[in-house]
């Protein structure tokens, strides 16, 4: 009788332990499940935030193409008829500095002389104005560029000296926020 009772008690104890083990196993699976869901959600959320940051930077770069010709470092005549013209001589001088790189979150910035056509090539002090492009910020990898037409102005010493107005285009690319 006592032996039967002992084996019955043993059986109940083993069953209880089995139940506890099952419960622990379920708990571990549950936590693992929530951890995987949280990780997947986190990855999606971070990608969304990165996209939002990139869109904000691109929107800023796009707005800048419309207003950059009026910035004090580029503008020709502060007051008067040409207050949104780009001063080519200032651009040439600023090309030798890293001012625009420090000032604006841009990957790429270039001004191209569109009309009248000029000989192709990068502008420097030595070959100006017989050149087409003035690259202010250069990099190997840059994203999509926003562009805008601008009026360029430069001094021509001939015939007593006068200011010549030309058509130009400005190219700007925003820096990736994760860089």
């Amino acid at each position: 009788m006592i032996k039967m009772k002992d084996s019955r008690v043993n059986f109940i104890e083993k069953k209880a332990q089995m139940r506890i083990q099952q419960m622990a196993f379920i708990l571990v699976l549950l936590i693992l499940f929530f951890a995987i869901v949280a990780t997947v959600f986190g990855i999606i959320w971070i990608n969304y935030l990165r996209d939002q940051a990139r869109l904000a930077a691109e929107e800023n770069a796009w707005k800048m193409t419309r207003t950059i010709s009026g910035t004090p470092e580029l503008v020709f005549t502060s007051r008067g008829l040409c207050s949104s013209c780009v001063d080519m001589e200032k651009v040439i001088v600023l090309k030798e500095t890293d001012f625009f790189k420090k000032m604006h979150n841009l990957d790429y910035m270039r001004i191209e002389r569109v009309y009248p056509r000029a000989p192709p090539g990068e502008c420097r002090r030595a070959n100006f104005p017989d050149c087409t492009n003035i690259t202010l910020i250069d990099s190997q990898n840059y994203g999509a560029t926003s562009t805008a037409f601008v009026t360029l102005v430069r001094f021509v010493p001939d015939k007593g000296g006068y200011f010549k107005y030309e058509l130009g285009k400005i190219y700007i690319s925003a820096k990736e926020p994760t860089k």
């Binding site: 904000a56 009026g70 007051r79 001589e89 001012f99």
Partner: protein
């Protein structure tokens, strides 16, 4: 109650508690993210107020909920060649343990914007007015910000200032005249007096070029240009003294840099028959004066250098600017 039921109840309670805790923490993160997006949008929208050929621009920014805009400013070169404007924002969302005004965003910096306002501006509608600053060449666009919670009473305003602000259709500013502002200006309005008197929150002394507010005196100068002379005056009126002094230091840093650029331009053009030693000397002096300035009180000495440059530039056959 059997052991398994008891165990399941305890574990269930722990899981539910952890879920609620995680949700609460996540919502705080979401609110921080939302506030940061708002601050970034505000800084981006300030680009729309940059002037080209206009003498000024006025516009309105509206938010869906009540928002605080916190205007910080730093002259540290760690943030940019001319310091930086730093903006934080917080929106009125009734959730969580913190008061909504304490739940601000990440700091959003802008190196090329100059915003003049009180340290904290709150409301749903924000009025933005901008004017270019010429000293004597263009230094920057100054942006002034106030909200629908800030009403101004301009008392005994000179006709040209009143005309300019009315032409720009600037809102939340009332123009009153009389022997004393009390009785004509409402108690909730910020009184700006252009003649000495009592009961004025802000007193403007146009002849001494000083503005007295919050017990502090800040200095302004008349800028150059037919329609843009009062850019610094408006900055002094609409901003806190601390914000004004910091932004003035940033403007002076930029003015100093621009004088170097014009100096280099003049040197570049000199072999081509354009450019003048006299102007270059003046630019060098302007740069030296700007580099030594530490507060708005020094604007008067910089003005005399600027006047000299402007006068000589006007007489040049090929103007520098």
């Amino acid at each position: 109650m059997s052991f398994s039921w008891l165990f399941a109840t305890i574990v269930g309670a722990v899981v539910i508690f952890l879920a609620i805790f995680a949700a609460a923490r996540f919502s705080e993160t979401l609110i921080f993210q939302q506030n940061t997006f708002t601050a970034k949008k505000i800084v981006n929208s300030l680009s729309s107020f940059e002037t080209t050929f206009e003498t000024g621009r006025f516009g309105i920014m509206e938010t869906r909920v009540e928002t605080i805009i916190i205007n910080n400013c730093t002259t540290s070169k760690e943030y940019g060649p001319f310091g930086a404007l730093q903006i934080k924002s917080s929106q009125k969302i009734k959730f969580g343990s913190k008061n909504w005004s304490e739940r601000d965003s990440a700091m959003i910096s802008s190196k090329d914007k100059f915003l003049f306002s009180t340290g904290e501006v709150w409301g749903k509608k924000f009025y933005v007015f901008s004017k270019p600053l010429f000293f004597p060449f263009k230094i920057a666009d100054l942006v002034y910000l106030w909200s629908d919670q800030q009403q101004f009473c301009f008392f005994n305003t000179p006709a040209d200032i009143e005309r300019e602000l009315k032409n720009q259709k600037v809102e939340n500013i009332n123009f009153k005249r009389g022997p004393s502002p009390s009785g004509v200006c409402l108690p909730q309005e910020t009184t700006v007096c252009f003649s000495s008197g009592q009961n004025c929150n802000i007193t403007v002394d146009l002849s001494a070029k000083k503005v007295l507010k919050n017990g502090r005196t800040i200095h302004f100068e008349y800028a150059f240009g037919d329609y843009d002379q009062k850019a610094l005056l408006y900055a002094a009126i609409f901003s806190d003294p601390e914000v004004y002094e910091c932004q003035i230091k940033r403007l002076i840093l930029r003015a100093s840099y621009l004088s170097e650029v014009y100096y280099l331009k003049s040197e570049f053009l000199s072999p081509r028959g354009c450019g003048s030693d006299i102007v270059r000397n003046d630019l060098r002096e302007y740069n030296a004066t700007a580099s030594s300035l530490t507060s708005s009180a020094g604007l008067h000495s910089l003005f005399s250098k600027a006047e000299s440059i402007d006068d000589k530039n006007e007489r040049l056959a090929c103007k520098l600017y």
